[in-house]
Subunit: 307 residues, 4 copies
Amino acid sequence: MTELTTTAAGVFVIAVTPFHPDGRIDMESCDRMVDFYLETGATGLTVLGMMGEAPKLTVDESRDVVARILARVNGRVPVVVGVSAPGFAQIDALTRMVMDIGAAGVMVAPPGGLRTDDQIVAYYHQVAELIGDVPFVLQDFPLATGVQIAASVIARIMNDLPTCVCLKHEDWPGLEKISYLRKDGVLNRRISILCGNGGLFLPEEMARGADGAMTGFAYPEMMARVVADYTTGDIARARDIFDAYLPLARFEQQPGMGLAIRKYTLAKRGVIAHDTLRKPGAALSAHSKAEVDALIDRQEHRLKELS
Amino acid sequence: MTELTTTAAGVFVIAVTPFHPDGRIDMESCDRMVDFYLETGATGLTVLGMMGEAPKLTVDESRDVVARILARVNGRVPVVVGVSAPGFAQIDALTRMVMDIGAAGVMVAPPGGLRTDDQIVAYYHQVAELIGDVPFVLQDFPLATGVQIAASVIARIMNDLPTCVCLKHEDWPGLEKISYLRKDGVLNRRISILCGNGGLFLPEEMARGADGAMTGFAYPEMMARVVADYTTGDIARARDIFDAYLPLARFEQQPGMGLAIRKYTLAKRGVIAHDTLRKPGAALSAHSKAEVDALIDRQEHRLKELS
Amino acid sequence: MTELTTTAAGVFVIAVTPFHPDGRIDMESCDRMVDFYLETGATGLTVLGMMGEAPKLTVDESRDVVARILARVNGRVPVVVGVSAPGFAQIDALTRMVMDIGAAGVMVAPPGGLRTDDQIVAYYHQVAELIGDVPFVLQDFPLATGVQIAASVIARIMNDLPTCVCLKHEDWPGLEKISYLRKDGVLNRRISILCGNGGLFLPEEMARGADGAMTGFAYPEMMARVVADYTTGDIARARDIFDAYLPLARFEQQPGMGLAIRKYTLAKRGVIAHDTLRKPGAALSAHSKAEVDALIDRQEHRLKELS
Amino acid sequence: MTELTTTAAGVFVIAVTPFHPDGRIDMESCDRMVDFYLETGATGLTVLGMMGEAPKLTVDESRDVVARILARVNGRVPVVVGVSAPGFAQIDALTRMVMDIGAAGVMVAPPGGLRTDDQIVAYYHQVAELIGDVPFVLQDFPLATGVQIAASVIARIMNDLPTCVCLKHEDWPGLEKISYLRKDGVLNRRISILCGNGGLFLPEEMARGADGAMTGFAYPEMMARVVADYTTGDIARARDIFDAYLPLARFEQQPGMGLAIRKYTLAKRGVIAHDTLRKPGAALSAHSKAEVDALIDRQEHRLKELS
C-alpha cells in the first residue's frame, strides 16, 4: 500500500464514476479510466470527490467502486478517497472501509454549517482524533461548501495535526493562500499543496509554490505537462501548453454542468463507454456538445502548432 | 403494517436517538422512549429526523434503530422515517430498507441547492418516481434546509403526486401557508398537515386547519392536549395548557442547542437513561441545565394551578 | 447631548418608522411614539434599525426622522442610530449627520460577506477608525446578517476598540455568549450588553449578566418590568410578568412578519396612527389580526390575575 | 438623450470608479476613461454597477460621478446606471436623479432575500410600477446576489413588463438561458441580451443569440472585436482574438479581487491615474501585479502573431 504523505506532488486526477445508460456502475469503464489517467501522467487518483457523483452512490456501491479502482491501480500510485459526510459515524465507517482495502488516505471537506475559526479548527481536531493515524487531505473549496477558511486557520490545523498532510487548494481567488502557507515560519513542516478549480490557475499556483493539481479536467496530460515544466523551470512552455487547453478548461469549469462536459469529453476520447450521469443530473444539450466539439478541434489544431 | 395516509392527525413525535455515554446506541432507552411517547398521547412516531442525530448514524445503525423502534411500536401507530439524503441511491436504499421492516412511510426534505419553483417540483417528481407507491411526507423547513417553497409550489407537488400524503409544516412564519392549502380549490384532495417548530405555534396552526403536530418537544402531552382540545373546540383550555408549557417550549426551540435540552429533559423525566449527544454535539452547560430545571419547576406549578 | 457609554442599561426600544397610508412619513406619530416609549419605561431609543424599514428611507428621509425623534426626546434619554451600510462612505456620512444633530452613538452590524474571524475584526477596526470618537454598538444578529461572530471575536473587538461600548446581543442561541463575556479576564473593562430577539429570552439573559434589552416588542413595559425586577432581585415576579406577555411576544417574533404585527399592535394601542408598512412589505391578513387580538385579550386577562 | 431600447447591442462597458490615492473621486480620470472606452469600441456604458464600488459612494458622490460621465459621453452612447438598493425609496430617488441628468436607463438586480418564482416576479412588477416609463435592465447574477432566476421567470418578467428592455446575462452556467429566451414563442418581443462574467464565455454567448457584452474587462477592444466578428460571421477570427485575451480575462475574473486587477491594468494602460480602491478593498500584492504583467506581455506577443 502506498500511504499519502506531505511529499505528494504531480497530478492527482479526480476520477469520475462511470455509469451504464441504465444507471448501473460501469466497472469496465472504471478499469479503462484508471489506465488512461495513469498513462496521461497521473501521480495519484482521488475517488468519491464531493463535487462528483459520490453522494449518488449507496454505501455498498461506494465500496465496490473504490475496490475496483484500487485493484486496477494495484499500488502504482496512491489513491485518496473523499469521505466528507454530515456525521462522524459515516466518516469513520467509510474511512475504515477504504483504508482496509488499500486507500492511501482520505479527503475531508468542512460541513456547510461551520463559520467561526474555532469551529473549523475544532472540527478537524475531531476528525483527526476519529480516524487515528490515517493521513488526510484538507479540502478548502468555499464555492461548494460555503465555508471560508482563513489561511491562518489552515496553518493552525496543519500545525496541530501531523496526519493532515495535504491541502486541496480550491479557494477562488486563492493564490495568496499558497504564498502565505509557503512563507518561512508559518508551518512547522512543509506540507503538500495540490490545486483544484479544474486547473484554471495552475501556472500561477505552481509559481506560488504548489506541488501540483488535484482536480478533474478531461485532459490530465495538460496538467501533467504544466506541472512538469514548472518543476524543471520551463515556464514559457508550460504557459503555451496551458493556453492551448484553456478555452476548453474554462468551458468545463462551469459549476454543476462541468461534470457532464467532463464525462462527454472522456466518452468522446474513448475512456469511458457512456457519458451517463445518474439522476439527479442534467444531460448536455446538443448545443453544448457541439460547443465542446468545436473547442476540442481548435485545441488539437493549436497543440499541433506548438509541437 | 399501518400505512401513512392523508388522514394522519394528532401528534407524531419526532423521536430522539438515545446513546450510552460512550456513544453506543442505547436500545433499552429506545424501548422506554417508545412506551413513553405512546403513553403521553403520540398517534405516530417519526424517526431519523434530519435535524436530529440521524446523520451521525451509519447505515447499519440506522437500520437497527428503526427496527428496534418498529418492534416496540408493534403496529400500534404508524412510524415515519426520515430518508433525506444528498443522492437518490441513498434515499432509495434507505426507503426500501425501512419499508421492508414495517415503516408507514418516509419523509423527504429538499436538498439545500434547490432554488427555483421548477427545480423543487422536479425534485419531488423524481423522488416519487423513485420510491414508487411508498407514501411520503414533504418536509418544508426553510430555516434548516435553506430552501424556500412557495405555498403554490407545495400545492403543485401535492396535486401532481398522490403518494405525497402529508406536509410537515415548519416554515417560520408559516401560518398563511396552512390557510392557503385549506382554501377551496387549491388541492385536489384534503392532505394531512402536521406542524413542527417545537409546537411553538400549535394553537394558531390548529385554528388555521392543521391536523396536529410532528415535532419533538419533550412534553408530548402538551401537544396531545392542545390538539385534542382544538379538535373538540375547547379553545380556551387548549391555550391555557399551551401557555403553561410555552416558557420551556421556547427554551427548547433554540437551533442546534434544542436537542441537548430535549435529551436533558427526557433523561430528567426518566425516559432515556443518558442525555448523551454523539460527537459533534455540544453538551449543555451547568447554567443551561439550571435554567431548564427552573422552567420545569415553574411549569409544574402552573399546571397545578390549572387543574 | 447624552453620549452612549458602557453603562447603558434598561430598555432601549427599537423605534418603528410610522407612515401615512400613502407611504409618507407620519411625523405626528413619531412624536406620540417617543412619548409612549418613554412613558412605558424606555431608558434609550434606537432608530433606523436594520431589520426595520430604514432601508426603505431615502437619505433625506432618514435625517428628517432622526431629527424629529431627537427633538422630541430632547435629551431625556440617549438615542442610538443604526448606520449599517454596504460601504464606508455611507456609514461615515450617516454617522456624521446624526451625531451632528444629537445622537448618542451609532450601531453597526457586519456586512453579509464577512466570514473569518480576522475579516470581522478588521471590519470593526476600519469602522472605528472611520468614525473616530463616536461610541458605537456592535450588533450580533446572525439570523439576519448571516455572519457568525464567535464570543472570542466579540471580546477581541471590544478589547481592541475603546469606542465599542455596547453589544446588541441577538444570537440565537446566544446565552453562553453573555456568560463568556462576563467571565473575569475576558474583557479589559465591563461593557454594556443589551439583548434583542424581541425580548424572548430576557429573563435568562438578565440572569446571565445582561444590562437590559434593545429590541422592539410592542409592550416595552414588559421589558422594563423584567429588567427592573431582575435588577432588584425579584426573579419570581419578573418571570410571572414575562410569562404573561410571552404568547404575544412569541407571535411578534416571526421573521419578516414581526414588524407588521408590531405596527398593528402599536396602532391598536393608539401609539401610531396607521399600521402602514412601506413597499415592499406584506400587510397582515385578517386572520393574523384576529390572532393578535385574541393574544392581547388573554394577555390583559392574565395581567389582571397577577396584579 | 439616448434611451435604452430592446435593440441595445455591442459592448456596454461597466465603468470603474477612479479614485485618488487619498480616496477622493478622480474626475479627470473619469473623463479619460470615458474617452478610452469609446475609442476601444464601447457602444454604451454602465455605471454604478453593484459589484464595483458604487456602495462605497455617498448619494452626493454617486450623482457627481454619473453627471461627470454623462457630460463627457455627451450623448454619443447610452449610459445605464445601476440603481439596485435594499429599498424602493432609494431606487426611486436614484432613478429620478440619474434620468433627470440624461441616463438612458437603469439596471436592477434582485435583493438577496428573494427565493420563490412569484417573489421575484412580484419584485420586478413593483420596480417597474415605481419607476414608471424608465427603461431598465434585469441583472441576473446569482453568484453575487444569491438569487436564482429560472429562465421561465425571466420570460414572465420580460413578457409582463414592456419597460424591461434588456437582460444582463450573468448566470454561470447560463448558456441554456440564452437559447431558451431566443426560442420562438417564449418572449412576446425580441429583447436585448448583453452578457457579463468578464466576457469569459462571449463566443458561446454570441453563438447562442446574445447581442453583446455588458461587463468590465480591462481590454474592451477584445469584446468589441469578438462581437463584431460574430456579427459578420467571422467565427474563427473571433475565437482567435478571444483565445489571445483569455489568460488575462480568466485572471481578472476572480471574485472580489477582479476589480483590483482591472484597475491595476487600466492604470498601467494610462487610462486612470491610480489603481486605488476605496476602503474596504484589498490592494494587489506585488506577486499578483507581476502575474498581471506577465499575462499582458504574453497577450501582446500573441496578438502580434495573429495580426
